[in-house]
Subunit: 339 residues, 2 copies
DNA sequence: ACCATTTTTGCAAGCATTTACAAAATATCA
DNA sequence: TGATATTTTGTAAATGCTTGCAAAAATGGT
């Protein structure tokens, strides 16, 4: 069913039918109704390729994922939020996975040159991100989930990681903890650096010495967190509190604490960062988990919105959002133990 | 940089340039080289929309995901495999998320009517799957990951869930276990039904009574598995072995066993299904985990291949692959305890 | 009933590619 | 050296939509 067929069926020109369906003002109301009904009845939908060629818009946004580690629960939630909003505008999300940094850069070049997407989502940035520079050079609009240091204006949405960690760390210090472990993300990643900044700021505000041995930089998985926690618990004096970078990390820390015969919330405290996974509720854990919380799904749908604004012509320089992070205290964080 | 520009730059017609780049035989070798070099030099790539309109192919395949629960680690791995293969053919993967069954069906209709994709990937089927029927009605080619009962021919790739569970269950029976719990996927889902079939077959082959209380049907997450295991361990007589539907499930079972003060591999045994996640290695666990193993990532890349064959004209009826599942015995499965 | 507006519709030219078909250039052979 | 076969290139139509501009129809005022 092409536009032409529909037009013939109605005894109208393609022009009129097209205008009726696209809400142009110069078409008679009665005609519009007649056209809309016929279109719905016959299940007409414009051919996407033709529409894209005619309008010059790709009707799609791109998302590049590196390896499977980036395609974990965080990205899943984010993608849900993103897609939910995009589907309403009939904009596709084109997902590409790449295995290396080089592959990633050439993926952007490919997408840009073939005009497959109108814009990109850039995520998990490093402090100085080559990908952002490339996208700017390629003049392909994008919204950054996170932040990075570039001179040219960039649209971004980020959560206040520094503030979150500063508050969480301060709270643990208030409870008497002095040996506080930080299970952070990979070195160089902006969010991890920001978190470390907040952690350090809180420590130095109290004059508490910093111990590099209490910082772990790794991917956020159960297993990895389990190992790191195990070895940290063997330190003397051992840490009495843990800051876990994600809920997955928290599960690993949890396991290691239990395996060491200790009890979470009394022997050891923990505050985890909660990206709000529907299937991993901090309230339902034993003990319930104290968290710094910010919905990554919400971030996804908001970024979709920002992307639409960007495509609508709003300057990237005017698109910046820094979301505050809640600190929710539950049972896993308690006073430091007295040895 | 359009084809026209490139052609003018070379002093050739669009036709010749197009043919040179697309490997047609009737173009002189010297010309082809000259064109290819200029194209590479100037970074020319055909405009995707124009190419799609001209060829009538969408150059994309669709993947619809329901809610975030479907977008977990399994899908992530699968997607990696799929994308890795598709990128080589310059075929996009268009991802849509939907919140309800109705939304899902209309998503297919939308994709089909607008000819946004050449084919779809259908996954997580039920025994009788309405979505498969719809796709068949819409005449949109698809490859099914799993199996379903439809009369018309369907291309599919599945693993031998029945065989896997039959072997795993038999092995536990050999070790003397008589109360074996099955933590299965949602009721009605084909893979879950197939697994139950294998489980039942093994039981009845030994004349072991079936107890409905030992079967759990739920999503494969740590938390849910933890709860189910906890309550099952309170049964008297309690189960002495667990069949876990996924590695996430296994982690939950693990935790519940430990929390109950029991030891995995001696007090309780477990065999888990391992979809091979790079960050969750059965060999690195304590104790190491016995598994039924089949790489879901490999399935993803193979399905990409099958999809290409299907688009190449191979009849769906000829595209069926049933993969055997390995049984890898490690430390988590041992003899039944003597009470 | 006529003219001037205003509203509504249609014609045809894009958009960037592919690909029948025709034409030109080159090679082959007597 | 032509005539013929073969290789190489070009012309133009087609893909299905949008949209500038022109034409037709309806409306309003006198």
């Amino acid at each position: 069913m092409r536009l032409k067929d529909l037009a013939e069926h109605l005894g109208l020109s393609q022009t009129t039918v097209s205008r009726a369906l696209n809400g142009y003002p110069e078409v008679k109301e009665a005609t519009r109704v007649r056209v809309s009904e016929a279109a719905a009845q016959l299940g007409y939908r414009p051919n996407a390729s033709a529409l894209r060629l005619a309008t010059g818009r790709a009707g799609a946004v791109g998302l590049v994922l590196r390896g499977a580690d980036e395609l974990g629960p965080h990205m899943s939630e984010f993608l849900s939020g993103l897609s939910g909003r995009m589907v309403a505008q009939d904009i596709d999300i084109v997902v590409t996975t790449v295995a290396s940094h080089q592959e990633e850069l050439s993926a952007y070049r490919r997408l840009a040159a073939s005009q497959r997407v109108d814009a990109m989502i850039l995520h998990s940035p490093t402090l100085h991100d080559e990908r952002a520079e490339l996208l700017l050079d390629l003049k392909i609009p994008f919204v950054l989930h996170g932040r990075t240091n570039v001179t040219r204006p960039v649209a971004w949405l980020d959560i206040d990681n520094t503030g979150a960690l500063e508050r969480a760390t301060s709270h643990l210090l208030d409870l008497g903890h002095r040996r506080i472990a930080l299970l952070n993300g990979g070195k160089g990643r902006t969010f991890a650096e920001h978190r470390e900044l907040g952690y350090m700021a809180a420590l130095s505000a109290r004059g508490v010495a910093f111990d590099a041995g209490l910082i772990g930089n790794a991917i956020f998985t159960d297993e990895v967190a389990f190992r790191i926690t195990q070895s940290m618990l063997e330190l003397r004096p051992r840490p009495t509190a843990f800051l876990a970078g994600s809920m997955m990390t928290a599960l690993g820390v949890f396991r290691a604490i239990r395996q060491a015969g200790m009890t979470l919330g009394t022997d050891v405290s923990m505050i985890a960062h909660d990206d709000v996974f529907p299937y991993l509720n901090a309230d339902n854990m034993y003990p319930t988990m104290s968290t710094t919380r910010s919905s990554i799904r919400l971030a996804g749908s908001r970024i979709a919105e920002l992307l639409l604004q960007l495509l609508g012509g709003k300057p990237a320089a005017d698109i910046h959002e820094l979301w505050p992070v809640e600190l929710v205290l539950r049972e896993s964080s308690g006073p430091a133990p007295l040895f």
